[in-house]
């Protein structure tokens, strides 16, 4: 282990960029699991699916971020369909739904992963863009442009969703569903339609998150597994459904992972998110900004 303040500074800087990215890939889950209480373990798999869709669309000569944005409506519809199906088959039947809902999403994640392996093979895929491969020289530090681009998009995405949920009528309705569903029903609103809309948004955001995933590094079908840890760690650490919390938790995870990566080596990095998740569940399951 070599320690120096230069390395420490570099690790923290890199961690902040990485952390914003983690917040952005978790924000969809923060809505679907944090607010809507859907045990969405297939969230990372859908995101990786988004990366592969981006790979195809970007292959036609489009910019990867633009491809991600263009894919969002399609993913929104996909999300609406998934929630509709989940609601009709599990949520409406109550009691036993928890076990079977979890099993359903786990099976779905597996089907997506194996489907991608059958379609694209196990090789890693990358996209081309002017900002991929070059880096910004800041004095003696070099920051890859791809990290900066992902950082920027992540920040915009997180802010946009936070504003949407707190300022608009539908956004507030989504928060209301999370707080007290029966009350909403008594006031004559249809919680299922609101949840369906919210799940659609969460899935739509996954398309853009998937685009960032393939910008930041090569993507392979089994990548969703390690992101189960990262996304759930961020959402639980944030406190279920807290958007500002998601950003803070993402930064904490990003810096922690970056420090471990720098000082202990790459082979320990995947365990950071899972370890942090276990610690949070054991000590403070309501998270940092929990209700």
């Amino acid at each position: 282990m070599i320690f120096s303040f230069d390395l420490l500074f570099e690790a923290i800087l890199f961690g902040i960029l990485l952390g914003c990215f983690y917040a952005a890939v978790s924000i969809g889950l923060s809505v679907s699991f944090g607010l809507l209480d859907v045990p969405h373990v297939a969230h990372p798999a859908i995101m990786v699916f988004g990366s592969y869709c981006t790979y195809i669309v970007a292959g036609w000569g489009l910019d990867p971020i633009l491809s991600g944005v263009l894919l969002m409506p399609a993913f929104f519809v996909l999300g609406v369909l998934i929630y509709r199906f989940y609601y009709e088959t599990f949520e409406r039947r109550g009691a036993d739904a928890a076990v079977r809902g979890l099993a359903f999403f786990f099976g779905l994640a597996f089907i997506i992963e194996v489907g991608l392996i059958l379609g694209f093979g196990v090789d890693q895929r990358t996209v081309q863009a002017p900002y991929i491969g070059s880096s910004l020289a800041l004095g003696e530090y070099r920051i890859p442009y791809r990290m900066l681009v992902a950082f920027g998009v992540a920040l915009v995405l997180t802010l946009a969703l936070t504003l949407y949920l707190s300022k608009t009528f539908t956004g507030r309705a989504i928060k209301a569903v999370a707080q007290d569903e029966p009350a909403l029903r008594l006031m004559g609103a249809n919680p299922v339609r609101i949840k369906q809309w919210a799940f659609g948004i969460a899935t739509g955001v996954s398309a853009l998150a998937g685009a960032m995933l393939i910008i930041i590094g090569p993507v392979e079908p089994a990548l969703d597994r390690v992101y189960i840890g990262r996304t759930f760690c961020v959402v639980v650490l944030a406190g279920l459904g807290s958007m500002t919390g998601t950003l803070a938790a993402g930064l904490i995870l990003g810096v922690a992972e970056s420090l471990v990566l720098m000082f202990f080596g790459a082979s320990w990095a995947p365990a950071v998110a899972f370890g942090l998740l276990l610690v949070v569940l054991g000590i403070r399951p309501q998270g940092l900004f929990g209700r």
């Binding site: 928890a98 786990f106 840890g229 370890g275 998740l277």
Partner: protein
């Protein structure tokens, strides 16, 4: 009594089969299927009876396998001791994870078990003594008489382990433990209010599950003559155990056995004839189909079609 007689007959039949000149490949494949029987039976104790989904089958299985390797490497421990130690480590892990998360909602327990898989895998990747990321070749000890090959001996061992696991699951299901766990599954608040010691029962179920899964993992390194983290901590064990219980039916100890025998055999056939990926895909599709269309599993279907049996 009927149960014990049929189990004794089954055990004797397996023993006889191992001494007969049946093709070696049969034992090679049957061992894996039997492993799934033990894993699914163990999974069902917590998942089926209490309704807490465990995604961490490979973690428990893997801690058993690595405990066995460690003991073998360190002092050439006999297989029986390896299995006992593996069961103990599995039980400890189950108790620990349970203590940490069984107070919370089921989804948190499920996610925590995924976390344990990856943490265990990372630890083993970085631990050189047990092979690290490259893995470790193991030299099998000599075959004990009367078996002709080591795989045949492991086959009989696994049959015995499956019988033991089934007996434990059956005992839990029929005793006050099973009644308490079912009360937890149906309504945890109501159970707690009626004086059921919910946390203690869940912890007990989680510990027994861990012990069985750990024991099931112990002979694996000897079976393969090799151990390596990526395949030991593979999520396909998760989907195997979970899928078997759901496809067979979670409400009765017979369900996971039926599911594991069916799914395990199917997987063996597909892996050989088509490919490993298609095999995982089919298990995933079957899992989703059953969870959506036949939530009570095959047992539920049989009961629906034969309304007068029982």
């Amino acid at each position: 009594m009927k149960f014990w007689i049929s189990m004794a007959v089954l055990g004797a039949a397996a023993f006889g089969l191992a001494l007969s000149p049946v093709n070696e490949y049969f034992f090679y494949a049957a061992y894996v299927v039997l492993t799934y029987v033990v894993l699914a039976t163990a999974w069902n104790i917590l998942g089926g009876y209490a309704g807490y989904v465990n995604f961490g089958t490979p973690a428990f299985f893997g801690i058993g396998a690595y405990t066995a390797v460690l003991l073998f490497r360190w002092m050439q421990a006999p297989l029986a001791l390896q299995i006992a130690a593996a069961a103990l480590m599995g039980a400890l892990l189950g108790f620990g994870v349970g203590m940490l998360t069984l107070r919370l909602r089921g989804i948190f327990f499920a996610i925590a078990t995924v976390a344990v898989i990856f943490i265990m895998e990372t630890l083993m990747i970085n631990w050189r003594y047990v092979g690290g990321a490259q893995g470790l070749q193991l030299l099998r000890p000599d075959v004990t008489a009367p078996f002709a090959t080591y795989t045949r001996m492991l086959f009989v061992l696994m049959v015995a382990m499956a019988i033991a696991g089934i007996a434990i699951a059956r005992y839990i299901q029929d005793s006050w433990i099973g009644r308490g766990l079912r009360a937890v599954r149906d309504s945890e608040e109501a159970a707690e209010a009626s004086g059921v010691p919910t946390l203690r029962l869940k912890l007990l179920a989680c510990t027994v599950m861990g012990a069985l899964m750990g024991a099931a993992g112990a002979p694996m390194p000897m079976y393969l003559s090799f151990i390596e983290p990526a395949s030991t901590f593979n999520l396909s064990y998760t989907i195997g155990a979970l899928g078997s219980a759901i496809i067979g039916g979670m409400s009765h100890w017979l369900g996971p056995i039926v599911g594991a025998l069916l799914l395990g055999s199917l997987q063996q056939i597909i892996t050989v004839t088509i490919s490993g990926e298609v095999n995982v895909l089919i298990v995933g599709v079957l899992l989703v189909l059953f969870v959506v269309l036949a939530p009570q599993g095959l047992l539920g279907l049989v009961k629906r079609w034969l309304p007068f049996s029982r």
